[in-house]
């Protein structure tokens, strides 16, 4: 069925190609036109072209999310290739492609909101499998599963699954069950249960870094459930929720175990060679980078641990400048912003989009504000930018949810063909 107005794909592709070419020229300014620069250029521009062509033939419904992903992935590959010297970040590049593929897969999986919601039991199974895997494998081996060529971090994959669990449709909310005279929505109970399970697991693993992400997703999910069924948020409810949030925050702050307390009360300037080392180096790197950076490859932060994951924002700022760093973050924000451009048409998709927005924004907040010493440093990854396979792939899955909200399909293929 022909749709009257399609967006000009070649034009968007051109924009991405130009943006990447300009960045590669900047790299060439630092290193000259060496074979390594040309190699990076070839890989990235080819990936852009191939990705665009694939999109052209597969899904024409919406391409904002894909285009922004192509742009951001190419940019982050260029950043990652330049930290402290030119070395093509092949792994990052491959995981970028992996994320792009995951995006398409997850899009196909959830583009029909009814089917996606009907599959909720499957999401619950996935959730508990992943949680079980983390539970079984922590302790001696940490939260990583080593498969030889790739180390997987199951906790990253819990995030998209949790987003799927947190979203809900209006009919699910309106069909209440009654047990012993109490009306309840099973879906809501499951969300609360999953939140408690994940919080308990994080507590058990002594790694509370991602807890704010899950709490935010669950919070947004719950809030939307209230929100859809009310004309507007009543003042009392807002006050009640705010008091609850503040109370929970204070309780968490005071009751947190010792190793968390240490993080919360670290004065990085008092221990510049110890616990504050990474952050001090990160802040100095930003300060030395200034507005427009020292130039690609001229940074010094690559000598510090986690320079391309936890403090990647500072690494970018040092070599490319604060301006570039901030604009890169804004570019990543374009992904959740897409739901403002084309509003979702179903409540489940809407919940997914808000959940993804919450994950992306909370992760970025924890990462960037943490490394800049405005909030406690937790060591989470920066979506789409940090190196790390699991993080990239799960971000790809999340992007697929956004795409599904942009281009929902409520009709099955056979029907449309007939």
């Amino acid at each position: 069925m022909a749709v009257s107005k399609t967006i000009s794909h070649p034009f968007l592709l051109l924009l991405v190609l130009i943006a990447h070419t300009v960045m590669l020229l900047l790299v060439a300014l630092s290193f000259g036109f060496t074979t390594e620069v040309l190699k990076i250029g070839c890989y990235i521009l080819t990936a852009d072209l191939v990705g665009s062509i694939v999109l052209q033939f597969v899904h024409r419904e919406s391409c904002t999310v894909d285009t922004v992903m192509l742009l951001v992935m190419g940019m982050s590959t260029i950043y990652q290739s330049c930290f402290g010297g030119l070395q093509f970040a092949l792994r990052h590049f491959l995981f970028g492609i992996g994320a792009f593929i995951m995006c398409q897969i997850s899009y196909l999986l959830v583009r029909n909101p009814y089917r996606a919601e009907k599959l909720k039991p499957l999401w619950y199974i996935c959730f508990f499998l992943l949680v079980g895997a983390i539970f079984a494998l922590t302790g001696s081996r940490g939260i990583w599963i080593d498969l030889g060529f790739i180390t997987l971090q199951p906790s990253e994959f819990v995030k998209p699954v949790f987003v799927l669990i947190a979203a809900s449709s209006i009919s699910t909310q309106l069909h209440k069950k009654t047990l012993w005279g109490i009306h309840f929505v099973p879906d809501n109970l499951m969300l609360i249960l999953c939140t408690v399970v994940i919080a308990g697991l994080q507590w058990y693993c002594r790694d509370l870094g991602s807890l704010p992400t899950f709490v935010a997703v669950a919070g947004c999910g719950m809030l939307l459930r209230f929100y859809y069924l009310r004309e507007k948020m009543s003042f009392r409810l807002i006050v009640f929720l705010a008091v609850c949030a503040v109370g929970a925050g204070i309780a968490a702050w005071n009751l947190a175990p010792a190793y968390v307390q240490e993080r919360l009360h670290t004065n990085i300037w008092a221990d510049m060679s110890g616990s504050g080392y990474q952050q001090v180096k990160a802040l100095v790197a930003i300060a030395e980078g200034g507005w427009f950076g020292k130039g690609a490859g001229n940074g010094t932060l690559h000598n510090v641990a986690a320079s391309n994951t936890d403090i990647v924002f500072s690494s970018i700022c040092e070599e490319w400048g604060l301006f570039t760093g901030m604009m890169t973050v804004i570019l990543v924000l374009f992904l959740p912003m897409s739901m403002l451009a084309v509003p979702p048409r179903s409540y489940y998709h809407s919940g997914l989009a808000i959940g993804v927005a919450a994950v992306i924004m909370v992760q970025m907040t924890l990462n960037i504000f943490g490394s800049c010493n405005l909030i406690p440093f937790t060591g989470v990854t920066l979506p789409f930018i940090s190196q790390g396979g699991s993080s990239m792939l799960s971000c790809g899955i999340l992007a697929g949810f956004l795409k599904a909200a942009q281009a929902p399909v409520l009709t099955q293929k056979k029907k449309a063909a007939a």
Binding site: L224, Y227, A287, E288, L340, T365, I368, L374
Partner: protein, 461 residues
């Protein structure tokens, strides 16, 4: 056929509002982060030790601190007189001009990065005058500070013993006590220089004429209403005397009787003291600050006008403590006869990392510390004091009050000699305070140091 309307319904659009709020919150916080990073980046550079530093000059271009090369490359003793005032970037001294202005002096700005590295600060100090005053102390320790009461420029600030930053801190354990502190900013027992404050309180409360006509008898020793004895340094006594005479004699019984007098209620003294910046009876008082350097506020305890401790406090002994800096500040307000002093300032000009020069704003004035009438009357009394007793200072139209502070320090008893005053001469319109520790008769006097200092300042351009 109805018009096609396929916009998403209201409740669905509310999700968009929700997402917008999230985005606005994040972007707002992010913009705040950007501002914070830009604003605090010099702090990151200095605190982490990643920054290099520029040069501090005196008013005529002489180097007072140099971050661009080793201080030991300067002639030996070049920095000896300003070591604990200007300080250095070593972190050994916290309350010095350099330590308090590290970010200003760092060869760094967010815009220009390390730029051309031309950062420098120009101070109002005169290194020549400073060195001369430092040398004038001879073997004695103490402090001297002077500032132009018209413009606020601090011209001399010496604290002896001092540390020579060029010599490094390898022998930090062997340095004389107090070498790392500038005593001009630290509270000390003011001795009879305190009588100026008491006099100002009396002028304000009783009126100038009434105070000037007040006569009390001094027999060398006086029994107060509580039966406690206040002795005069002149054991034979000064006899019956007016205020002017008592001021010149620095007569303790006279001023003690003035404090005990019903015409001068203690509450009024406390009121004037508080306005002048004293912390009376533990009340909060503003800490003074000059270019980031902190100066402790004066303090005293005044409970009962008929009690020895209170009278003794008003005479500058007991629990009364004042920094030479603050004594100088009050002299500034007396010198201009307004009761309002121009705030002292040490920095005049800043050259940033790119080489751009900016004139630094001069700090404002103090509040009305005492009335203009009281200031003018005190000015007259102090000027008269110089005419009678300080022939060496007459040519600079000075007004001064001397003081002897009795110090008991761990069983050791000694006397500090102080001189607070001002010059009304156009060549050297300065207010000053000089302190010689453990003064003994026959050694260098505060008046001699004052003369040396005024000579040098008057000779400046």
């Amino acid at each position: 056929m109805a018009e096609l309307d396929i916009s998403a319904p209201r409740s669905m659009r509310r999700a968009g509002v929700f997402a917008t709020l999230l985005l606005i919150g994040f972007i707002g916080a992010f913009i705040y982060l950007g501002f914070t990073l830009v604003e605090e980046s010099p702090e990151y550079m200095t605190r982490s030790g990643a920054a290099s530093y520029g040069v501090v000059y005196d008013r005529s271009g002489d180097v007072l601190f140099d971050g661009t090369k080793a201080l030991s490359s300067y002639p030996s003793g070049h920095f000896a007189d300003i070591g604990n005032v200007i300080g250095d970037t070593s972190g050994q001294m916290k309350n010095t001009l350099v330590a308090r202005n590290m970010e200003e002096l760092a060869n760094y700005s967010f815009m220009y990065g390390k730029g051309s590295g031309k950062t420098s600060l120009k101070t109002t100090l005169s290194h020549a005058a400073n060195t001369a005053v430092y040398k004038a102390f001879g073997k004695k320790n103490g402090t001297a500070i002077a500032y132009n009461w018209k413009t606020g420029e601090v011209l001399v600030c010496v604290s002896k013993p001092s540390v020579d930053p060029a010599a490094g801190y390898a022998n930090i354990d062997k340095l004389a006590e107090g070498s790392l502190l500038c005593k001009a900013f630290l509270p000390t027992v003011p001795g009879s220089t305190q009588k100026v404050s008491t006099l100002l309180a009396a002028y304000e409360t009783m009126g100038v004429d009434a105070v000037n006509k007040t006569e009390y008898n001094c027999t060398g020793s006086w029994l107060n209403a509580s039966g406690q004895r206040i002795n005069c340094h002149e054991s034979k006594g000064h006899g019956k005397q007016t205020l002017q005479k008592a001021f010149e004699n620095s007569c303790n019984p006279y001023f003690a009787q003035l404090v005990q007098s019903d015409k001068l209620p203690l509450s009024r003294i406390i009121e004037t003291y508080t306005r002048m910046g004293y912390s009376v009876n533990g009340a909060a008082a503003d800490t003074l600050e000059m270019n980031g350097i902190r100066i402790s506020a004066a303090s005293t305890t005044l409970k009962d006008a008929k009690d020895f401790d209170t009278q003794w406090g008003c005479l500058g002994q007991g629990t009364t403590l004042v920094s030479p800096f603050q004594l100088m500040l009050w002299e500034g307000a007396i010198a201009n006869q307004s009761g309002i002093a121009v705030m002292p300032n040490m920095l005049s000009e800043k050259t940033d990392v790119s080489g751009a020069v900016t004139l630094l704003p001069t700090p404002g004035k103090t509040g009305q510390m005492f009335t203009a009438e009281a200031a003018a009357a005190a000015n007259a009394v102090m000027t008269e004091n110089v005419k009678k007793n300080y022939s060496a200072l007459v040519k600079y139209k000075c007004g001064v009050k001397s003081g002897t502070a009795q110090i008991t320090d761990g069983g050791k008893e000694y006397e500090n000699s102080l001189l607070a005053g001002f010059s009304a001469d156009d060549r050297c319109p300065v207010a000053f305070c000089i302190l010689i520790e453990q003064y003994k008769k026959g050694e260098v006097t505060t008046a001699q140091i004052a003369k040396t200092m005024l000579d040098k300042i008057a000779a400046l351009k």
